[in-house]
Amino acid sequence: MDVITADKLTKRFGDFVAVDQISFSVKQGEIFGFLGANGAGKTTAMRMLTGLSRPTSGQAQVAGFDIYRDVEKIKRRIGYMSQKFSLYEDLTVSENIEFYGGVYGIKARDLRLKTSQLLSELGLQEVARTLVGSLPLGWKQKLAFSVAIMHDPALVFLDEPTGGVDPITRRQFWEMIYQAADRGVTIFVTTHYMDEAEYCDRISMMANGRIAALGTPQELREQFQAPDMNAIFLKIARGSQTA
């Protein structure tokens, strides 16, 4: 089953075409890497898929709902986490969980259960009443990810989730991603770490608003005759600059 299908999805700002007729699909339980240079159109595409920006033209379904007509339904069926903004620093760990649970429409009784479950899974019971702002970055990111999937969404969007964390925490974070994908949660992730791109089942690379490459890491290495994702990325981004 496809969790995302996009068909010639396009967004224009005046004369500028930020996203230019992109078509792709993402299967349930897949880890889908969404890469591209700064300004290639990734953020605009993500904003359309999460219902925050209305496309200029084209079609897309997310979690089975139409991105023009059922924006609010989509928002209930997806999770979102970014490095820049995810948790409220001046709320405690428990308060953040309760707040997001409420936003995602989890009922009060279920929420209490869910909160204690989540705290014990993450080993955060001790700091449940601590302000999130005073936690180490690695803990915050794990908590943010857990909060983003606590309402059992069909898919979760992760926008550069691992920026700035130490190499061990970064890898532990990816193990959480693998576990969630294993349970059937679809992962849509952007990153600037090219080694992380290799952890994805499939990768799309955008350049100038278009999808310039799409496939498994293995397929892309063969297609571009390049040893790793970094080399492919450089080839694609360079090519688009001279074009």
């Binding site: 240079a37 920026g163 700035g164």
Partner: protein, 305 residues
């Protein structure tokens, strides 16, 4: 004095913010003309150290000299001679590109024309936008303007706090090429980054974590000081592979590394042994080969010591 003092010397620097210890006794000496990298995650203490060395923050303990000047007593001398590009964009958003540059030149009692040769390469890319307000520039252009403003008074040392964070691989590569050209002009560069792969682009690096230097050395020597036998392991089902490899008794640590796992073992192993074990566990397309450690491997080894 017949010889120049080193570009940077600091000894046993401590700094706390309330209950949080940001730096816990770091010491280092950096020579003139070096391209030195401070490598570590967010919260390691990188920015605090930069701010102490650029005289924007006082250390609680310890001494530091920049170009032979004391960071506490002779801060005026230091400020004239160093360029600083902070991690957060700190130019005037409502001044144009040209106005920002002119402003910074004037602050240092110089003109853009006088030192134009130093920034020409970078500024030429900004030229088409010279009348645009700084706040309206793209991320990459802001970064280039900030670098021009940090260079316009021809500093002897350039401090760059995470110039490539959140920047895509292409722009990162270009930025490092710019740094190399500045180094060729004799400028000492002290740059911080959370990207381990950028370590290899520096002459020397310090690995920093929780306010401590884990190690200071040339990048090649750092990677080579890895203490365990290291193997690259591949199989079709990577998530299960990771779990199974961790259960294998000779395993010291196993981490995902791109499409492979990096497995460190307590003693040398025969790769065929591991292939046998993984075959038993039902894995397919198994390869196990000895591999050369990277800086990132070494960083993780030092973190878990």
């Amino acid at each position: 004095m017949t010889t120049h003092p080193p570009a940077l010397v600091f000894d046993n620097i401590h700094k706390s913010f309330g209950p949080v210890t940001a730096l816990e006794g770091v010491s280092l000496e950096i020579g003139r003309g070096e391209l030195f990298g401070l490598i570590g995650p967010d919260g390691a203490g990188k920015t605090t150290l930069m701010r102490i060395l650029t005289t924007l923050l006082l250390p609680d303990q310890g001494a530091a000299q920049v170009l032979g000047y004391d960071v506490i007593k002779q801060w005026r001398n230091i400020r004239r001679e160093v360029g600083y590009m902070p991690g957060r964009f700190s130019l005037y958003q409502d001044l144009s590109v040209a106005e920002n540059l002119h402003f910074f030149a004037t602050l240092f009692g110089t003109t853009v024309a006088e030192n134009y040769d130093l920034i020409r390469d970078i500024y030429e890319q900004l030229e088409p936008f010279r009348k645009r307000r700084a706040g309206k520039l793209s991320g990459g252009m802001k970064q280039k303007l900030a670098l021009c403003c940090a260079l316009v008074h021809r500093p002897q040392i350039l401090f760059l706090d995470e110039p490539t964070t959140g920047v895509d691989p292409v722009s990162r590569q270009e930025f490092w090429q710019i740094l190399n050209r500045l180094q060729d002009q004799g400028i000492t560069i002290f740059v911080s980054t959370p990207y381990m792969d950028e370590a290899s682009l520096c002459d020397r690096v310090a690995l920093i974590q929780d306010g401590h230097f884990l190690a200071v050395d040339k990048p090649g020597a750092l990677a080579a000081s890895y203490e365990h036998p290291l193997y690259a392991v591949k199989a079709r089902d990577r998530f299960r592979l990771l779990q199974d490899v961790r259960q294998w008794p000779p395993t010291y640590q196993a981490f995902p590394f791109g499409e492979q796992l990096h497995l460190s073992t307590r003693t040398e192993i025969d790769p065929q042994q591991l292939v046998g074990y993984l075959t038993q566990q039902g894995h397919q397309e198994i390869t196990v080969t000895p591999t050369a450690p990277t800086i990132e491997d070494r960083f993780m080894e030092l973190m878990t010591h």
